[in-house]
């Protein structure tokens, strides 16, 4: 199913992967657990023969979430809750919900109380990452997740189960990185939309099948050109709706690097080889850069983006701001100032998961890049 997808199917599935996940579930008889961004170790869930699916909102209308959350709750939080309450209620066997900010912490309670009869576990990611205690805590939380999943499934996993899972997930990330490397220099051969759809799907569907498609995409790539393309860096957490990538493709923006959760921060999550897999999974938590804006700092993010901008010879940074994401809202004024001081053009795009019209965004992006070309 996911192993032989055409470009068209990839795009379609990335917008709404749930019908195919339902089909997979029926075919395999296996369970599906929903998670949200960003730190849940998917390898652990897969090792239990369960599909971990990162829930990334819906563009369908909000019906129930508005009554359960404040109006100014993060757009992704509202959209995720709606998806589960109204549209995919029966699909998930349970949820592992990470807590990375105020919103995700309190959302997990609301979610649990409003979705009955499912397995629930909180993944209490550390909200500080620069001290030894954080390393201790990540390991403890991974161990607790394993115990919890054991109790849920009645199954114990051993080192070999975990290793198989880690290898599969590592392979997925390696393949995606290879495609990213190619795309960077051959944007005419692979659109932003297809590439980021593959990264998104990698966090939602079974990788043993999807890796086949990614491999086939990789093998089919033919040298293209960079002529007429403007290289840009994409920053933020996610970039939704996916049609935004179509706009980039339309005005020939080539995303050459990013720090998105559905981008490089996911790809940087390869687990290093070595002894004691749990330790390595815990270590991975700290090598993915600014994985959550909560424990990130703007100096760090600025330096990382500046490095990406310079190393890739990009022309600008596009920052995707999810409406009402408080963490981003605290960071953005200083980040903008730092970019301005450095002379790096940065364009902030505000998105909302229920956005249907992107015409205003097209106009703004076109105007911004016209001015870049003019400089």
């Amino acid at each position: 199913m996911w192993e032989k997808m055409s470009y068209e199917e990839i795009l379609e599935c990335a917008v709404d992967p749930y019908p195919s996940i339902r089909e997979w579930k029926k075919r395999t008889g296996k369970r599906v657990l929903g998670t949200t961004f960003a730190d849940v170790p998917e390898e652990v869930i897969w090792a239990f023969d369960i599909l971990p699916t990162t829930i990334m909102g819906t563009t369908k209308p909000l019906k129930k979430a508005q009554a359960l959350l404040p109006d100014n709750a993060c757009s992704l939080a509202r959209s995720n809750l709606e998806l589960v309450l109204s549209y995919e209620t029966d699909l998930f066997d349970g949820f592992v919900l990470p807590q990375v900010c105020d919103t995700t912490q309190h959302l997990s309670d609301i979610w649990r109380l409003n979705v009955k009869g499912k397995y629930f576990e909180s993944y209490l990611a550390p909200r500080q990452t620069d001290r030894e205690s954080a390393k201790y805590w990540v390991r403890k939380e991974i161990e607790r997740l394993i115990d919890s999943l054991s109790a849920f499934t009645g199954k114990r996993i051993d080192e070999s189960d975990l290793k198989r899972s880690v290898d599969l997930h590592n392979e997925n990330k390696r393949l995606l990185k290879e495609i990213y490397d190619f795309k960077r220099n051959n944007p005419s051969s692979l659109s932003n939309r297809v590439f980021f759809s593959l990264v998104k799907l990698s966090q939602q569907v079974a990788k043993d099948e999807l890796n086949e498609t990614i491999r086939r995409v990789k093998e089919s790539l033919k040298d293209g050109t960079k002529d007429g393309y403007i290289d840009v860096i994409l920053a933020g957490i996610t970039c939704e709706p996916m049609e935004i990538y179509d706009l980039f493709d339309e005005i020939k923006l080539n995303v050459v690097a990013d720090n998105l959760l559905i981008g490089s921060r996911y790809l940087a999550g390869e687990v290093d080889p070595g002894e004691d897999l749990l330790d390595r999974l815990a270590a991975r938590h700290f090598k993915r850069g600014f994985f959550s804006p909560i424990h990130g700092n703007v100096f760090g993010e600025f330096e990382e983006l500046r490095r990406l901008y310079r190393e890739n010879g990009a022309k600008a940074i596009i920052y995707i701001h999810i409406e009402f994401c408080e963490s981003q809202e605290y960071d953005l004024p200083d980040l903008k100032k730092m970019m301005k001081r450095e002379g790096i053009p940065m364009h902030v795009v505000e998105t909302e998961y229920q956005t249907t019209s992107l015409s205003h965004l097209r106009t703004r992006l076109q105007a911004f890049f016209e001015s870049i070309k003019g400089t």
Binding site: P70, L107, D109, R144
Partner: protein, 416 residues
């Protein structure tokens, strides 16, 4: 025209003013005395700072003073001009405006040398302190990370171990910053004062269980200030002893916020207060026979430190289990306990645009509390400090209608 006679201050009010003045004098002298000023969150293991002779400063309290003086809209608008969203915490917006303009209705607060953010309260403070830390060129910011105190005994043990480890790291940091060794005996002494003051504070809050209640939540909010910024000191203990004595005297004489026969609605308040409507709300509710008696917010400083336990353990156990960091089920239980003990017959549930950490739960909390108590709730949205999000006419009409509903349902207290 004759001048309105000044109301004579009570002993506790005099004491509160004295303690506050001395505290701020000390804080402003800190730099010249070579002492460290640490900005911290209202809920944070401040006992460690106090024990190490570091001055804790609470930017939230400073913002409250400006918001209560109705400067919120003005200060928040200014910050929006700097690029900050109007959806952010009004405390933070107000503070950032103070940094940029120097405007304040108080004498201000001294500049920080370091930060301690405890996320049992919220993560907003961490983000706000990150902004201030950057502004100071990268001043040290210690995040005391308190994972949600989930309902799982084994997980709770691990959470506390993690918190204890972090407190050791905090101690190591302040030893480095001050170049002085930390004194655990002094910490035990400070926790002893904190415990004593907390128990007295709780006793004071619980006097609202009397009928008629000698205090309203507005008294509790005023009374709360000293334990927020002076816990761990003998002055704090003395203040609450005095406050309890005064309040007990009212109980003994049967003096209530409202006379017994007029106290019809004993109300629960969910969330932080609307600071700029503090006294207006008290008057408005009083005119209908309503008095707000309590909230989980004011009880957030009712600590129960156990002196027989390791000091870092009891600090961790207490700070991680605040109402803002427990599960919604635990929060329901905490609220129900107040309903029972205080004989509450109404609830005002405030959706505070400024405080997502507390407000996220409000719709679900309201559903559960209404179901479990049989008492309808009034839910309304506004902002704790930014008047632009407050609609006087709408809230007044809704309060009026709410009391009518309670009357109609036969929930109003009958006159004795």
């Amino acid at each position: 025209m004759s001048e309105k006679p000044k109301k004579e201050l009570t002993k506790s009010q005099i004491l509160s003013k004295k303690i506050t003045d001395e505290y701020l004098d000390e804080a402003f002298r800190a730099k010249e005395e070579g002492r460290i000023v640490c900005y911290t969150t209202a809920i944070s293991p401040v006992e460690i700072l106090v024990a190490h002779d570091i001055i804790p400063i609470y930017p939230e309290n400073h913002s409250v003073a400006n918001l209560a003086a109705k400067k919120g809209a003005q200060m928040c608008s200014y910050v929006e001009g700097m690029g900050y969203s109007s959806h952010l915490c009004a405390y933070a917006r107000c503070d950032l405006a103070y940094r940029a303009t120097g405007f304040t209705v108080t004498r201000g607060i001294p500049e920080p040398d370091m930060f301690l953010a405890c996320n049992a309260q919220c993560f907003t403070l961490t983000k706000w302190f990150q902004v201030l830390s950057r502004r100071g060129g990268g001043l040290p910011l210690f995040v005391f990370d308190t994972p949600q105190y989930i309902r799982d005994g084994k997980a709770r043990e691990e959470i506390i171990k993690y918190c204890v480890l972090q407190l050791k790291e905090l101690i190591a940091l302040i030893e480095t910053v001050t170049k002085r060794k930390f004194d655990y005996d002094r910490l035990r002494e400070v926790i002893k004062y904190s415990r004593e003051a907390s128990l007295l504070y709780r006793k004071f809050l619980d006097m609202a269980a009397h009928i008629p209640s000698p205090i309203s939540i507005f008294d509790a909010l005023i009374g709360m200030a000293i334990t927020v910024y002076r816990r761990g000191t003998p002055q704090c203990v003395e203040y609450y002893r005095t406050l309890c004595e005064e309040t007990q005297e009212k109980v003994d004489k049967g003096i209530g916020v409202l006379p017994k026969e007029k106290e019809k609605f004993r109300l629960y308040w969910e969330n932080l207060p609307i600071w700029f409507k503090f006294s207006d709300h008290a008057k408005l509710l009083g005119s209908y026979g309503g008095v707000i008696l309590t909230s989980l917010y004011v009880h957030a400083w009712s600590f129960e430190f156990d002196l027989d336990k390791d000091p870092l353990y009891t600090l961790s156990e207490n700070y991680v289990s605040r109402f803002s960091n427990v599960t919604l089920e635990d929060r329901v239980d905490m609220a129900l306990d107040l309903f029972k003990r205080y004989s509450l017959n109404g609830m005002l549930m405030f959706m505070n645009r400024s405080c997502k950490a507390v407000s996220f739960a409000v719709p679900t909390l309201k559903e559960i509390l209404t179901k479990k108590t049989g008492i309808p709730a009034l839910v309304f949205e506004s902002d704790m400090g930014d008047q632009r999000f407050y609609s006087e006419a709408q809230i007044r009409t809704r309060i009026e209608a709410y009391f009518e509903t309670l009357e109609r349902l036969g929930l109003a207290r009958k006159a004795a």
